[in-house]
């Protein structure tokens, strides 16, 4: 617990420089951009503020990260940026989670949260300034002590040095004095040529604790008097708890309490196993309403019907209103020599984080609650928990733990709300841990989707125009993030059209239309969100057009990318690296696809071996242009992981519904790729120096279409629905 507690020092809400209350010998620097609003009541829409750092008397620097560490390595990347500006010694730097306070709100979303691969890209410049300000203050403190001009001092490896006199003072000796100084408004930033850490594969600071078992994830939280709870939620979507006989659970040794929630029952016990036995002993009675009629075939039929009935509405674009888009595409398609239409489909998908949903809550003496949560959505979590308990948000304190995988699932805070309600009802601190089966059955799933894509082609197969129409459930009605977006800048849900809203390709007149078709299945943000299905649809379709045109799929894409230099760059990079076009051994085939999101552009070639229906993933070449890159090695690992995530979904991923409930339970029916099935990788991070984009989600979207396109080359058949095992394929490993 020590690590968690020290990770949550207090900071002034206005973000002013403030000494640590507990330790006079440390420097706490909080910086912020001009505040829109500040103060306790404005904690969720307050200042646009950035990171800060703590310098101990021994000179050890703790960087407080406002980005939940889900495995993406952003906490270390933040430290890299600050370490460069401050000239720190990397071996004397650590990270901790910043508390949930306004100074740490992400400048783009004005929330304490991370999503959309924005942890670094939205904060990079502000972080540099934070570091440069701190450096200037440390220099000023040393110069004052030596009575020399600050300009005559330099900084080196965590110390201020005065080369003229050979003097040196470690930051730890200067922190207290520096903390009393006013941060300069516009400190000089270190020029790019002098960067030592940014752009380098620095070892991640969170990894040592992840190889010796000392890392504290949500499930590992320990508190005095802590009890463990587990939960059984209404299996049918929208179900409510009618009644439950507590007796059988209370008869289990170690079980202390049964707690009823509106849609669930929880058992509180001395440990997880007793709670598990208690929950297994219960026979809750659920009110399921009409929802048992819901099944996957019905969902699919409903999505197809939505498109057939013309429910898809053209999404407004800044440069063209829907009516103009419709007129332009109609004209293009009407005057084309032929129309080419294909329909694609994708299933619901689950996040399947290895760490099941969990949360720890302790009621406080003042009627508030303190929680330890593996969450990436602290701001919304606090509001949701406050609302559930009927207390002001200020009385909800969230400590962020390490997170055993997120992929979008930790945007939701259902487990945090439950933990708070159970702790309150039980009157003891409670750590709620879901079983794997509960985790699988109560996700916020990537929506199932159907898309119909139509192209108008001239006699010479030139593209005249294209229409993309998709039907899929929305995320906004269900997701905590949706609740924010819905109320903020996005009056119309766009998630169902991501990647398809603006194509990188020049396809002539174009429009994208979306029929948000809510079917009663709880949906949410899944790594790469709408790109995950729409890149499959679009990139499969482009591949089909290449075939129609009798063109090589790389050449065909290249022709359509004349106005998209970043996409052209990554396409050319993977084509060159993979030796695209060279003769391949018998039974070996390749496919290609692009993707573009979060300000980054990607291209992927996959090489597969096919023997009948048995498929082996041989190698992946992947090029990403994410602009300026803080840690290229870390980016490569994110891409490898993202590609494996996307390939896993393409091969075997699906959540199906029968009788209103999810059919899958544990990993036996949610198969994940294993080491034996993983391909070799060659990932290229293109150093174009452009605007910084995201990297956490960027490996995912191109994986499915690249694989399906390779299978087309292998078999001559188009696979227009996922997962591919449903077409009879088996995958090695």
């Amino acid at each position: 617990m020590t690590a968690l507690m020290t990770a949550s020092p207090r900071v002034g809400r206005r973000g002013f420089l403030q000494g640590m209350a507990a330790s006079a010998a440390s420097l706490t620097i909080g910086f912020h951009l001009p505040a829109k609003a500040a103060g306790p009541a404005a904690a969720t829409d307050g200042a646009l503020v950035n990171a800060w750092l703590r310098i101990g008397p021994d000179g050890f620097v703790t960087v407080l990260s406002n980005v939940s560490e889900l495995g993406q390595g952003t906490s270390s990347a933040i430290a890299q940026v600050l370490a460069d500006e401050l000239d720190l010694d990397w071996s004397r730097v650590g990270t901790a989670h910043a508390p949930v306070e306004a100074p740490y709100f992400n400048p783009l979303i004005q929330q304490y949260a991370v999503w959309g691969s924005t942890g670094m890209s939205t904060q990079f410049e502000a972080l540099r300034k934070v570091g440069a300000q701190a450096r200037a203050m440390l220099v000023q403190a040393a110069a004052a002590r030596w009575t020399v001009a600050p300009e005559s001092c330099a900084t080196r490896d965590g110390a201020v040095v005065h080369d003229a006199s050979g003097r040196s003072l470690g930051y730890g000796d200067l922190a207290v004095e520096a903390a009393k100084l006013t941060p300069p408004a516009e400190p000089a930033l270190k020029p790019k040529e002098q960067w030592r850490y940014i752009g380098k594969g620095m070892p991640r600071l969170d990894l040592p604790a992840k190889v010796d078992g000392s890392a504290v994830f949500g499930v590992d939280v320990a508190l005095e008097g802590l009890r463990v709870a587990t939960i059984r939620q209404a299996p049918v979507f929208g179900g409510r708890l009618l009644s439950v006989d507590e007796g059988p659970a209370l008869a289990v040794k170690g079980v202390e309490k049964v707690v009823r929630l509106p849609d669930a029952v929880a058992v509180v016990a001395r440990g997880y196993w007793q709670a598990h036995k208690g929950i297994e002993a219960l026979s809750p009675v659920w009110d399921t309403g009409d929802n048992p009629k819901l099944d996957s075939a019905g969902v699919s039929a409903r999505l197809h019907a939505a498109l057939e009935a013309g429910e898809a509405k053209t999404f407004p674009r800044r440069d063209q209103d829907p009516a103009a888009q419709e007129a332009a595409t109609k004209q293009a398609l009407d005057t084309a020599a032929t129309r080419f239409t294909r329909t694609y489909e994708a299933p619901f998908l689950h996040h399947a984080t290895l760490e099941p949903m969990n949360g720890t809550a302790r009621m406080t003496a003042d009627g508030g609650v303190e929680l330890w949560l593996p969450t990436q959505n602290q701001s919304q979590g606090r509001l949701a928990i406050a609302a559930a308990l009927g207390i002001p948000a200020e009385k909800v304190t969230i400590h962020t733990t390490l997170i055993g995988g997120g992929f979008g699932r930790r945007i939701e805070v259902d487990y945090g709300v439950q933990a708070a309600l159970i702790a309150k009802a039980a009157g003891v601190p409670v750590k709620l841990i879901w079983s794997r089966e509960e985790d699988t059955g109560h996700g916020f799933y990537r929506p199932a989707a159907v898309a119909r894509v139509t192209a108008g082609l001239d006699a010479d197969r030139t593209l005249k125009g294209m229409v993309f129409e998709a039907a899929a459930p929305g995320l906004f009605p269900y997701s905590e993030l949706g609740k924010v977006e819905r109320n903020r800048t996005m009056p119309v849900e766009f998630t169902g059209l991501m990647y398809a809203l603006r194509l990188p390709y020049a396809v002539g007149a174009y429009r994208a239309a979306y029929a948000r078709t809510d079917v009663g299945v709880r949906c949410g943000f899944w790594r790469s969100v709408g790109d995950s299905q729409n890149a499959f649809f679009v990139e499969s379709f482009i591949d089909e057009l290449a075939v129609e045109a009798g063109a090589d799929p790389v050449d065909y894409r290249r022709r359509l990318l004349a106005q998209a230099p970043r996409e052209l760059g990554v396409l050319d990079a993977v084509a060159a690296a993979s030796g695209w076009g060279a003769a391949l051994p018998k039974g070996v085939h390749r496919g290609i696809a692009l993707s573009r999101s979060n300000g980054s552009s990607s291209a992927m070639v996959i090489e597969i071996g096919v023997d009948g229906t048995a498929v082996t993933l041989r190698k992946v070449w992947f090029a990403i242009d994410c602009g300026l890159c803080v840690n290229p090695d870390s980016v490569k690992r994110q891409i490898e992981g993202g590609v494996i995530f996307g390939l896993t979904a393409a091969m075997t991923g699906k959540i199906t519904v029968a009788g209103g409930a999810v059919e899958q339970g544990n990993f036996h029916d949610v198969p994940l790729m294993t080491m034996a099935g993983a391909p070799a990788f060659a990932v290229m991070v293109l150093e174009t120096g452009g605007r910084m984009g995201g990297v956490g989600e960027e490996g995912v979207a191109a994986a499915a279409p690249a694989l399906a396109n390779a299978l087309f080359r292998a078999t001559g058949n188009r696979y227009r629905s996922l997962p591919l095992i449903d077409h009879g394929f088996t995958f090695a490993g």
Partner: protein, 150 residues
């Protein structure tokens, strides 16, 4: 009822039901939380420990079956992250979220003890732990690095 087993070199006695999985004895009774809960069904390997030297998924071993054995968890693989597998893991920067990595490392350490120079195929066959972050290419590299003594 009371069960006695040796955990990380120390004799420990716990008073739990005999069907309590070793995983929950380690985590809830002994406070050794480096061993993770992923599935409770022996499918993911996040709970892998060494039972008398053999890589074992502790979520499916009832404590009554583990009594009298010697259990090693990630916390005691080495006192200072100096086990060759841990060294290789950091050199290759393997973990992402890190949740599966205790189990991966314990599985890898057991593999290398049995097969000091495994082929890639032997690694594929032996390491069936699930990693949702997709660290497999790095896991394999790290095992090969540890085997090479680099």
């Amino acid at each position: 009822m009371a069960y006695t087993l040796t955990v990380n070199g120390r004799r420990r006695t716990v008073d739990v039901d005999g069907d309590t999985p070793l995983l929950w004895v380690l985590r809830d009774e002994l406070g050794l939380t480096g061993t993770k809960f992923g599935c409770g069904a022996g499918l993911c390997g996040a709970c892998t420990v060494h039972l008398d030297g053999t890589a074992t998924r502790s979520c499916t071993v009832p404590v009554e079956a583990a009594a009298g054995t010697a259990v090693t968890t990630i916390e005691a693989l080495s006192p200072d992250r100096s086990h060759p597998v841990q060294v290789a893991w950091l050199a290759e920067q393997v973990p992402q979220c890190g949740y599966c990595q205790s189990g991966m490392i314990m599985a890898a350490a057991a593999l290398l003890k049995e097969t000091p120079k495994p082929t890639e195929a032997e690694i594929d066959a032996a390491i069936t732990n699930l990693c949702r972050c997709g660290t497999y290419p790095r896991v394999k590299q790290a095992i090969l690095r540890a085997a090479a003594g680099a």
